[in-house]
Symmetry: C2
Subunit: 200 residues, 2 copies
């Protein structure tokens, strides 16, 4: 089946955002990363600021309180604010995919759209040395050790993904294509993803 949607999951510091943006531009299809936030805000009634702080990278997705908020919500007959956020995000991802060809970064989109036959799910990663260099260049020094920053982000994304999908993050079997941007280089990643998407 010909592809209409690309989802891109990426390690922090792998250049996944930049590569994904270039792929969307090359294919002439809409690109959704932070662009999703406005739509999720509209749908959920939550503020963009709250979403920005608590979506995907939620620092407490691994915490007892977050797990509790998610799991006990049903007992009181109303969804917790985190559940509301995830549900709104899911709806936005589904609607965007329904609307037409596009590229969506993160947000468990590979899982949410797993039943569609017209998606190419991509994972982008790199080794820690290359991620560290890119993070320092892009986001600067925050005083915290770079190893710690990488470890925390990996752990948050892994936990968030596991919590909502019951799958492990970064397993080859979940992606049509997985690329090491450090080994291949950004330009080649863009080229390979574009070719994979265009192929029947």
């Amino acid at each position: 089946m010909s592809k209409r949607i690309i989802t891109v999951s990426r390690q922090f510091g792998s250049g996944g955002h930049t590569i994904a943006k270039a792929v969307a531009a090359r294919l002439g299809i809409p690109f959704y990363d932070n662009e999703l936030i406005t739509e999720v805000a509209r749908k959920s009634g939550l503020s963009e600021e709250f979403i920005r702080e608590n979506e995907e990278y939620a620092s407490h997705s691994n915490s007892f309180l977050y797990q509790l908020a998610m799991s006990t919500a049903g007992s009181y007959g109303y969804p917790s604010v985190y559940q509301k956020l995830y549900e709104a995000q899911t709806k936005v991802v589904e609607e965007l995919a329904e609307k037409g060809p596009c590229l969506i970064v993160g947000r468990c989109a590979d899982y949410i759209l797993r039943e569609r036959g017209d998606c190419l799910h991509v994972f982008i990663h790199a080794d820690n040395a290359q991620r560290a260099a890119r993070i320092l260049e892009r986001y600067g020094d925050t005083g915290k050790s770079i190893e710690q920053r990488i470890k925390e982000k990996d752990s948050r994304r892994r936990n968030y993904y596991r919590f909502h999908t019951d799958r492990e993050w970064g397993i080859c079997a979940n992606y049509g294509l997985a690329l090491d941007s450090g080994i291949l280089g950004e330009e080649l990643c863009v080229e390979l993803i574009t070719q994979a998407f265009k192929a029947e």
Copy 2:
């Protein structure tokens, strides 16, 4: 660094062997899969038949006896036959990589050559329905259910890899490129691997 070696790890029934062979032919570099066995036999003194039955797919790599043979070997001051086989295999992989550009299938070659900067490590997989169809077409019906055959092979390769490398099999981070041959098709897999290998 420009690439000289390709290692291909593959799920049973993913078409990985066929794809790898086509890549090597396209690049004009030697291809080693079962071709390795003669060399391992020469180096280890073990028979080709024994190697064929006990290398990589060793049905007992998961068993208590195999674990025992591997772990207690040292206590008696001589290597077990399985350890001897793995060591000979490792040496052959290292020597082939040293000799010149080539493509090596399986044998934990991605792990054995992990410190070299001139390798492209590839993983090829597909979903179970597509693997089942290919297995039946290629190897025929053996009386055992196809789900069981896939499960057993996956489990053996995973255990063998984990035992010798202390890493998990099929994790994106271990490969420069991972491809779903069912989604992308064999021809495109050959094309993408070839491009990734040729790029500086």
